[in-house]
Amino acid sequence: MTFTGTVTVFVPRDSAAKSMGADAVADAIVRVASEHQQAVQIVRNGSRGMLWLEPMVEVKTPSGRIAYGPVTVADIAGLFAKGFLQGGAHALRQGPVGEIAYFKKQTRLTFARIGLTDPLSLSDYEANGGLVGLRAALAKSAAAIVDEMVASGLRGRGGAGFPAGIKWRTVLGAAADQKYIACNADEGDSGTFSDRMVIEGDPFMLLEGMVIAGLAVGATEGYIYLRSEYPDAHIVLMAAIARARAAGWLGASVLGSGKPFEVHLRLGAGAYICGEETAMLESLEGKRGIVRAKPPLPALQGLWGKPTVVNNVMTLAAVPWILQHGGAAYAAHGVGRSKGTLPFQLAGNVKYGGLVEVPFGITLRELLHDFGGGTASGRPIRAVQVGGPLGAYLPTSKFDLGLDYEAFAAAGGMIGHGGLVVFDDTVDMAKMARYAMEFCAIESCGKCTPCRIGSTRGTEVIDRLRQGDRRPQQEALLRDLCDTMANASLCAMGGLTPMPVLSALNHFPEDFRRN
C-alpha cells in the first residue's frame, strides 16, 4: 500500500536512544521508505523517557502518534511490510504513546513537552507553551517573580533541597554591580539523567528558566556548567543558545523588553566534586575544583565574588511552568513540604528503566515494581540506592517508604537528584560499601582531612573487614571513622559518604561476614 502524502516519523535524538542505534534506525527508515516510494519526514524528537523501548519510533497517523519499540535496523523492512506508517499491527507496536501505562500514569509538568517535537525548533517551542512563563515574568516586578517562586514551594533539585524562592530572595536583596545565574548541569550522580534529558530534549525551557531567574534577582549573565561526559547535550545546548540569541530570546534586549540577559556555556572536566556548588564556582573561574568554606554563601559572594544564584537544571527547568501556571498550581502537587513533581530516574538492574515524573509521595515499591517491573535480570531486587553515590542503600523492607524529603531523611535516606539504582540478589553489599569509600578517595577535592584521608583508610578497613581480619574491631573502627567523616568534613562529599557505607553495613551485615 502506498500513500501519496508525506508521513511524519519521529526518531529520538536523545543520546540514550542514540546509544541503542537511533541514528542508524532513522537512516534505515528513510532508505526503506524510498524503496517503497513513500515520502517520509523524519523528526528527531526528544525521548519520552521509556528508555527500555529506545529507539522508540513514533508514526503520526490520523488516530494519533503510534509508538514502536525498541526498533533495530533489522526490524525496519518488517515494519514497512506490516504497514507501520499507517500504525499497523506488529510485535513492536506499543500503541498510542499517551495510552502506554508507564507514560499515562505520570504527572508531567517539567517533561510535558519533551518528546513532542524537535527540541531545537523555536517555533515548535512557542507553539507548545514555550515563552509564556517568560512573558508573564516580564510583566512582573522582580519581587513579584520571587514571591511566585516562594509560593510554589519549589526546592532545589540538585540534592540539598533548599527552597529556590528563598535563595532567589537573598540574591535579589544583595546590592551589587553584577550578579550571576549559575546553572549546575554537572549531574554527577550515578543513576541520574534527567538534567541530560532536559538539555537534549527541551533546552529552551532551561534557558527560559535562567532568564526568568535573571529577571527575578537582577542578574544579566548566566553560566551553565555542563559535565564533559555529555557530548550530545553539549552540541544541543550550543545550538540552542545560538538560536535563542539569534531570535532575540537572549541578548541585549530579551524579547524586546530592553532587559539584557546573556548565557555562557562551560564544560566540566571529569571531577565529581565540581557538582558541589562552591567547587563548581571555582571551576567556572578557571581554577581547581576545591570546595570553598561557607559562609560566605554563594548567594552573597558567588561567581567572581558576586551574588549568584546556583541552581540545578531541574530547578531552573521547573521555573517557566511555575510562572505560566502560578506558584499555587505547582504547590498543589506533592505532599507536606515536598511540593510539586520530581522526575525520578529508574536505573541499573531494572526491567523498565527510564524517567518517571510524578508528585512527591509515591512509594519506592510503586516506582520499582509498578513502573520499573522489577529487575532486568529477572532475579529478585535486593537493594536500591536512592540519591546517587552519597545516598543510602535500602533493602526491600523499606520499600513502602513515601518519597518526600522529610520522610526520607527521617528514615536515614536522601532523595537527592531522584535517581534510583536497582541491584538484584547477586550484589555484594560489602563491595558496594567499599566502592563508596573508593569513589570518595578518587573524587575528594582534598581540602579537609576527614574526607581526604578518611576515605582511603575507610577502603582499607572495609577490605580487612571483608577478609575477616579481627572483625569486631574493624567494624568499630569503620563506624568511628564514618562518625568522624560525617561530622568533621567540610562538605557533603566526605560528610555523606558514610551514608551508603553504613546503610550497607546496617541493612546487609551478612555481606560483610562472607569470609
Binding site: S19, L51, G191, H264, G353, P389, A441
Partner: protein, 205 residues
C-alpha cells in the same frame, strides 16, 4: 596502579596501596594478549612546531574569556588529543598565571591527558548503575583478553581505555563512550568488535 584514575591530592604511596587492593593482579598473559602501557608513561616526544602553533592559536583565541583556563585546556585537547607539557609555559604567559597554577589545574581534572592517547579512546563507565549490570565483567574482558587496563593504551597505540563515572545512560547500562559516541547495553561481544575495529584503524600515534 591499574584501575583507578590518578587521584589528585592523596600521595602516590597511598594511591598505589588503594589501587593494589582494588583489583586482582594483572592476569597471566594469554596468547592473544598484547602488552600495554600507561598513557602517562608513554615515551613522549617533544611537542612538534605544529602542536605548539596550535596551542598558541588556542591561547590567543580564548585568553580573554572569563575563567579561560578550562576552555583553553579543552580546546587544546580537542585539537591534539592531549595537553603537551610544553603548553604550560605558553598558557601561563597568555593568562598571566603561574606555571604551578596551570599545572595544578591540568592535574586536578581527570579529563586532561598529558600524553597522546591511542587512536581510539574508550571510556568505560564504572559507576553504580553500570556495576549493577556487570560493568566489571567488561573491564575484566578488556584486561584479560585485550590486554588493556584502565588508564592504559595498547602497545600498538590502537586504543586507550579510561574510567568514567556516569555517562547519564544509567537505564541502559553498562555504558561506554567511544570517541564521543555513547553506547548502551554494552556486551563483551561489543567490546571485542570495538577493539578489533580500533586495531584495524590505520595511522600512527
Amino acid at each position: 596502579m591499574t584501575g583507578l584514575r590518578p587521584a589528585r591530592t592523596i600521595g602516590a604511596v597511598v594511591r598505589a596501596r588503594l589501587s593494589d587492593t582494588t583489583f586482582a593482579p594483572f592476569p597471566v598473559p594469554t596468547p592473544r594478549m598484547q602488552p600495554s602501557v600507561r598513557s602517562g608513561e608513554a615515551v613522549h616526544a617533544a611537542a612538534t612546531p605544529h602542536q605548539l602553533a596550535a596551542v598558541d592559536a588556542v591561547v590567543a583565541r580564548l585568553a580573554t574569556l572569563p575563567g579561560a583556563l578550562l576552555p583553553i585546556l579543552h580546546a587544546i585537547q580537542a585539537e591534539l588529543g592531549f595537553v603537551p607539557p610544553e603548553s604550560i609555559d605558553r598558557i601561563a604567559n597568555g593568562l598571566n598565571l603561574s606555571r604551578a597554577e596551570v599545572h595544578g589545574v591540568i592535574t586536578f581534572y581527570h579529563d586532561f591527558r598529558q600524553a597522546p592517547p591511542g587512536r581510539t579512546v574508550l571510556k568505560l563507565c564504572r559507576a553504580e548503575a553500570c556495576q549493577a549490570m556487570g560493568c566489571e565483567r567488561l573491564e575484566q574482558r578488556l584486561r584479560s583478553v585485550h590486554g588493556v587496563a584502565m588508564g592504559e593504551t595498547t602497545a600498538d597505540g590502537a586504543l586507550t581505555l579510561e574510567a568514567v563515572y556516569c555517562l547519564g545512560n544509567c537505564a541502559l547500562s553498562p555504558s561506554a563512550l567511544v570517541d564521543g559516541q555513547l553506547l548502551g547495553r554494552v556486551s563483551e561481544a561489543h567490546l571485542d568488535a570495538l577493539v578489533q575495529n580500533a586495531r584495524m584503524k590505520g595511522g600512527s600515534r
